[in-house]
């Protein structure tokens, strides 16, 4: 099983789901037993979601209209 330092190094590839199968199992074994690391993994997941939500706004209808006006007029 990996230690906390290795677990920290695996955080980003783990959350991106790009770890190899044995690496993923190693990280998960550690996370299952280590509250210290698992709290940090949960935090990172929340943070990523929060960043995404921050930019989830849709454009103003005025901009949508302007884009539609850029279309080539039909003859």
């Amino acid at each position: 099983m990996c230690d906390c330092i290795e677990c920290e190094q695996m955080m980003q590839p783990y959350l991106d789901r790009v770890l190899s199968e044995p690496e993923r199992r190693e990280a998960e074994d550690h996370l299952a037993e280590c509250d210290w690391c698992s709290a940090r993994y949960r935090f990172e997941t929340e943070l990523r979601t929060y960043v995404r939500i921050t930019y989830a706004e849709t454009m103003r209808p005025e901009l949508k209209a302007k884009l539609a006006a850029l279309r080539t007029p039909l003859l």
Binding site: E8, Q9, M11, Q12, V18, D35, A39, R40, R42, F43, E44, E46, L47, R48, Y50, V51, R52, I53, T54, Y55, A56, E57, T58, M59, R60, L63, K64, K66, L67, A68, L70, R71, T72, L74, L75
Partner: protein
């Protein structure tokens, strides 16, 4: 024979018009997603709106360069990214210094230290405002930020981001890694300033 040629020509024009209309409709259907990425790339809503308009103006002009059946979203984002690079050059931003980065647990450790106890999940939003996120992201140097915006906000794969930015996949991964660390470092600095 002259009539036959005109008819063929007319059919060709009609088919082209049909393809163009379809292209424009498909492109417009992706506008919200394109806009979101633009918002991540630049600081203000006005700048993002200009960037999106320029992107669509160029896309509609050069629609025939798009190969039907390939990834239209990535094609549009490629235009947006290039326009954004031109724009940054025009503005001649101050040279960006190498950002300080810390480990992946850095922000959590910092917030936990401030709170004096382990954090619960819901405390992420309590301790960081959306304004903090926007301002921290704008402080990430743009080479790193662009990758983070495409992958974490635009939901592009590493491979798509590599294609859009015209860099190898390995570079996407290393920049993404650093961008996330720098973002957390910036967020930690901000919460420190606020407290």
């Amino acid at each position: 024979m002259a009539d036959g040629t005109t008819e063929t020509e007319a059919r060709k024009l009609a088919a082209e018009a049909r393809d163009r209309v379809r292209f424009e409709e498909d492109a417009l259907a992706l506008a919200d997603q394109v806009y979101r990425v633009a918002r991540g790339f630049v600081g203000s809503r006005e700048e993002a709106e200009d960037l999106v308009q320029d992107t669509y103006a160029r896309a509609f002009r050069s629609w025939q360069q798009f190969t039907p059946g390939t990834n239209l979203r990535a094609w549009l984002l490629r235009i947006l990214t290039n326009l954004n690079i031109d724009r940054a050059r025009r503005q001649q931003r101050r040279p960006e210094t190498q950002p300080l980065e810390e480990g992946d647990y850095f922000l959590y450790n910092k917030l936990e230290e401030q709170a004096g106890q382990p954090l619960e999940e819901e405390q992420v939003v309590e301790r960081l405002s959306q304004h903090d996120i926007v301002s921290a992201l704008s402080a990430v140097p743009h080479d790193f930020r662009d990758v983070l915006v495409l992958v974490d906000i635009g939901d592009f794969s590493y491979a798509d981001a590599a294609q859009i930015l015209d860099i190898p996949v390995g570079t996407v991964m290393s920049r993404l890694h650093r961008a996330r660390r720098v973002l957390k470092r910036e967020l930690a600095d901000q919460t420190e300033d606020e407290s």
